[in-house]
Symmetry: C2
Subunit: 751 residues, 2 copies
């Protein structure tokens, strides 16, 4: 309630320049009245409402605006809703608006490690942890609590779901309590991620068998101890039997056994366990065409339906694989008829450009939430939302100013999954930059654009699956046990998941849905469900292979368009963010070209079917580095081959530097020179570009992309525009290596 009051004051002071006056009584003047229904009953007996936990009512009563709820948290949410209305310029006359969150459990998960790193985090170090303890300065945690509260989020898991066992050590609970104290004023309850093996690994037992009474007693004592430190702990998240985490299979027990032993320890305290449905075998035999990772969640959990305790919630990822650019809705959603379920959405852009690409994820999430499963829409099945946020210490939380839109959208959807992507994009843009149709348009098209250049038609993100999940690597998914196979070969592409000839995964869907995926599959998901020849014609009438070519070119061109569109905002967006986003989009435009060329060339070489539009393999104005006159530079093969033009780049291994030169053969006039170079995470190599004797540009490769190798992750583009060239001009690149970064580059393109 104190936070609600302070936010009301702060918000009105910020927007209207006035300090509201605090009064205990309801005054005769205009007023904003905050209180729970119980608080207000004696003073405003006419106020009657039937409200659930966390719901709120905004109502004009005489000359007052009343913000009320059954609990303090609801009043805080009501205050944020009222402030949002004011900020969006909506009318606050004659209010009578009641809002109830669709799901009672609206959590974020942070995959923060106790050493301060964040698994799949792109916004800096952990706001919670540093060097094995809670950070001394928890002010950012408090700010995060405020941010989450403004979106209606009421729980936060503060450590990685790949849980460090130390989190449950007895002397560690003061660390958790300190963080909980920073979140508590914002109505955000703390959640911890726990390791199922803890009774053995830290508990002194020789087993973690969930049916062993000593194990049950250990969990009970441990939770009693934890709740003594944090009495309002919301509960725990647990990942078991997946990706190397121990689980009930060690003792032949079920997931219900595992979940329930912890649930029963939590139950006296009102705590919940969110048990992850993300369970699969990552050592599958890729030679067996019946094997299918997509089946795993359903196969693992559906048989246990009815066996989970009431305070267990199964946390199910939106799709059957893991946060790929396009997946169908997981068939497990709504399949558990007697079990509470959460949808797990990924806010952090693990497979979506990692904070370097503009990707507004709400349209993707909406496809799942709105998906008609045959027996209802997905959003109707949900008891809970879990969003993997992974914010960090960076001022903008995510490493760039635009990714916040996804946290905003997640919070708004967890509150009301019926909101449209357009409405959410519009709200966020107006609150963040001031209304801008341009920004809304960029946001709404951005996911489709990213899909087009990274993996359309249900191919999934064609990235380095076994490595950094960032750059392009078409075959990284194949011939290994991780099961993200697209099974492209010289004849065709796609995973056969039909019942008749494939893995049978389609059979996990309710019949009405299965029929569609089987016989009338949408183009967007075709290759997720079917293996087809490259000449197969889509609903569009176009072949699969030509569509792959076309969409990659469309995607790359769309990002070039974003750069142009963003530039129209100069002077309308503050300079700092204008520049940051412009650089981000320019970088992304270069990356999109790398993806385009890598994927189209890979499919061209594999299928041997030419692009009807003669683009793939033909790059007007491009001069390969390895074809230049080299002085010191040496040509090297790049792996995977498709991530460098012609499969090769040049590297310099001389401290004093190397040169590569060629003669311009195009028409005289003003040109743009683009240098495709490599910016690894080591060193900061220096590049200089000369036209004749005149240096026209220089830069350092000082970004910190997540690789030390030459590949699609490190491939970056420098654009030098406004250069006057004549036929026969010598163009020279001078590169100077630094700390193992070899001043490598791939090609120069002149337009």
């Amino acid at each position: 309630m104190a936070s609600a009051r302070d936010e009301m004051l702060r918000g009105v002071r910020g927007m209207a320049g006035r300090t509201l006056r605090l009064e205990d009584a309801i005054p005769k003047e205009n007023a904003i009245v905050l209180g729970t229904l119980a608080d207000l009953h004696a003073r405003l007996p006419q106020l009657a409402a039937n409200l659930k936990e966390d719901a709120f009512l905004l109502k004009t009563v005489g000359s007052a605006i009343v913000v009320t709820a059954v609990n303090d948290r609801g009043v805080l949410y009501g205050v944020f809703a009222l402030l949002r209305k004011i900020a969006l310029g909506e009318s606050i006359e004659h209010l009578n608006e009641q809002q109830t969150p669709r799901a009672a459990i609206r959590w974020v998960n942070q995959w923060d490690n106790l050493d301060g790193s964040i698994e799949r985090g792109y916004g800096g170090q952990s706001i919670f942890w540093d060097n094995g303890r809670a950070r001394a300065d928890l002010s950012r945690v408090s700010e995060y609590g405020r941010l989450l509260a403004s979106l209606g989020i009421n729980g936060c898991a503060i450590n990685n779901v790949n849980a460090d066992r130390r989190i449950l050590l007895s002397d560690f609970s003061p660390q958790i309590a300190a963080i909980a104290a920073a979140l508590r004023p914002w109505g955000v309850r703390t959640v911890v991620s726990i390791d199922f093996g803890s009774p053995k690994s830290i508990g002194g037992l020789d087993t973690f068998d969930p049916l062993d009474p000593r194990v049950a007693a250990w969990w009970k004592a441990k939770m009693d101890e934890l709740y003594a430190a944090v009495p309002d702990l919301a509960g725990v998240v647990m990942k078991a039997d997946s990706e190397g985490r121990v689980g009930p299979s060690a003792y032949g027990r079920t997931h219900a056994d595992a979940a329930n032993v912890v649930a029963r320890a939590l139950q006296p305290h009102g705590g919940l366990i969110l048990y992850r449905g993300f369970v699969y075998d990552h050592h599958m035999d890729w030679n067996n065409p019946k094997n299918d990772r997509a089946r795993a969640a359903y196969d693992n959990f559906v048989s246990s339906d009815g066996k989970f305790d009431p305070n267990v919630v199964i946390q199910i990822k939106n799709g059957p694989i893991a946060f790929q650019v396009r997946e169908p809705a997981s068939p497990l959603l709504g399949a558990l008829k007697k079990t509470r379920q959460a949808i797990e959405l990924q806010i952090t852009q693990e497979y979506m450009g990692q904070g370097r690409a503009l990707v507004f994820l709400v349209p993707q999430w909406k496809e799942t939430l709105d998906f008609q499963m045959g027996d209802g829409r997905v959003s109707g099945f949900l008891d809970a939302f879990a969003g993997v946020a992974n914010v960090g210490l960076d001022e903008n939380w995510f490493g760039n100013p635009m990714s916040q839109v996804n946290l905003y959208g997640y919070g708004r959807l967890a509150w009301n999954p019926d909101l449209s992507a357009r409405q959410i994009a519009g709200e966020w843009t107006a609150l963040t930059f001031g209304s801008s149709e341009t920004i809304v348009r960029l946001l709404l098209s951005s996911w489709r654009t990213y899909e087009n250049y990274t993996g359309p038609l249900g191919l999934q993100t064609l990235t380095d699956i076994v490595g950094n999940h960032y750059g392009v690597a078409v075959e990284a998914s194949e011939r290994n046990g991780w099961g993200q196979w697209h099974r492209a070969d010289e004849k065709g592409v796609g995973m056969d998941r039909t019942v008749e000839t494939g893995t049978g995964y389609i059979g996990q869907y309710r019949p009405a849905v299965a029929r569609i995926f089987q016989a009338n599959c949408p183009d967007d998901l075709l290759l997720f469900f079917h293996h087809v020849p490259y000449g197969y014609r889509l609903h569009s009438g176009k072949t699969v292979i030509q569509t792959i070519y076309d969409l990659h070119y469309e995607g790359a061109e769309a990002v070039e368009g974003y750069v142009r569109e963003w530039k129209t905002l100069e002077g309308r967006v503050d300079e700092q963010r204008y520049t940051q986003v412009l650089h981000q989009l320019e970088y992304q435009a270069g990356q999109a070209q790398v993806w385009r060329d890598a994927v189209t060339n890979w499919f061209f070489r594999t299928s041997n079917i030419a692009d009807e539009k003669h683009r793939v393999g033909n790059y007007p104005g491009r001069v390969e580095a390895e074809a230049m006159t080299l002085s010191g530079y040496e040509a090297v093969a790049v792996t995977p081959w498709e991530t460098a033009s012609g499969g090769k780049a040049v590297e310099c291994h001389h401290a004093q530097g190397c040169s590569a030169s060629f003669y311009f053969e195009g028409e005289p006039g003003w040109h743009t020179i683009r240098v495709q170079y490599f910016d690894q995470s080591n060193g900061a190599a220096r590049y200089q570009v000369f036209v004749g004797a005149q240096r026209v540009d220089e830069w350092r490769a000082d970004d910190r992309l997540p690789t030390k190798r030459l590949d699609g992750t490190s491939s970056a583009r420098r654009t030098i525009s406004g250069i006057a060239l004549r036929k026969g001009d010598e163009i020279r690149i001078d590169g100077t290596p630094d700390q193992g970064e070899t001043a490598a580059f791939d090609y120069v393109e002149i337009r």
Copy 2:
């Protein structure tokens, strides 16, 4: 020439996004051709021009724009002029424009001490010096050279005119050479300030008598040595026999003797000596009504006319005193018929708010330059310009973003004194912020505004003359030997400088001018020339005393208007500078009120004549701190009394803090609370303001105003707007001292 070429490239790339192509030959395509006339003669024989040193020609020849001059520096100036045209959106078609600087000597002086401090500098530490040596990183010197070159300035004195004798030590010359090397690429020649006593103080002689042959020999050897280190040294500046500096009077010699002995040492190297005309006695008897510091420059120099060597230039301040807010043109200007003369203008705002007030000085300088002396306009007499710039390491050079306009204006006027203030304000605004009539309007009115609230009618700046030259202190000028007397007493005010009854200063002017000042003196300068009773009626018909009251109120109201006008620029000026300037103007508005109240109350008490408009002494809504209910706070008398309302403030000497409270007696509604507090240079006291139990504001007094005392310099204002008050509300100020800063305040004003 290399700088000219690089600037041309840099400028066009910045504005047009194109990299001009460097060619040795004149190409067939469109081109910009840079070169001296001699360079270009063979290739463009049709190009003929009669140009002086530093002058330039911009001329369209065929498809080329030619930028030419007789020397490299002129080409550089031409490049900057061409870039300025492009930036201002002027046409560059069919160019045929020749520009010649009015004066050959266009210098800035920096009053930088070798320890890195700057006398009367408000933009941080010295860019030249640190700890007795040239700064290790001279990159800011290079940037300053570029800035100066863009304005056509060709010389820079790099050390304080109150010269440290160490500057001429033999082993010091590498330090000077290092600085000269940073300025040289910009055509800015280095100047050093020297101490006339050097032959004795560092030279090993027992005399510095300018007529002693050993002294002459010493100077010759010293200059030979200095020119060996810096062959293109432009010359020296010397201040002698003034403000404690030794001079020729020690040996009964003349200023000509002093100047010539140095001039003859410089002559073989082509060097100049700028000999300061700012010579006066600061131990004058104030009881003698015939004494007058204003007479000093003329009296000291006019008799030596014809005796100075050709390479001596007398550097004469614009007015007869020293950079006051309003002075008449110095009668010495143009009085030396056989001597070269420089006008000395002060760019650094010593008496003009010290970088905390918006004061555009060009209108003031123009009044002097355009002044008709009877035998010609002042600008026609000048051989040289010397501007006291005193930039520092601060990113914006002057400690605020607006004061740069004065350096810009100085440079433009030194090049062409006929430019109007409006044109200069328009150019600078367009180049700095983009065109804005609002900013131009603020600039053009700002000097008059500052004059109105600090010292109108020729009173001079009524500041702390013997101290920091910043805050108000009406009597600081009186009853001491410094001679800045206004001689206000209970009957009247003003310095009688008439020939008949006064000091005779008016007689130094040529007869036509003397007649005007004597018999028909402009109101603006009345009190500079005449002592009149308070009831004396001005040309306006209003009495002197009422005019003093009115102008101080007008000035203070004008600054409040600047705050409102600046706020209309939100979103049109980048946020950083918008906020900086807004804070500066809000601060200045508070200062203007302190000045207004101090000066009007001082004259009210002294004259005992009431303000016809009943403002002076009546402050609706003001509650004196000493009249509040005090808990811990103690009332103290402030000196001078006029700098605190009621002559008193309250101070806190308890580490745990003090309180002062009162009850609001005004009408209920939304109000603004203003707290007039004291922000000294020690400590950062904390203030909190409460309405009832609600804290409505808090801040720290963490500015660094140049005083540790409670007075008009430290008096500052906090404005808390949008506060809802009811009659009878208790308002409380809690103050907590810090490191000797006593959380003092003067009054609270509620509107």
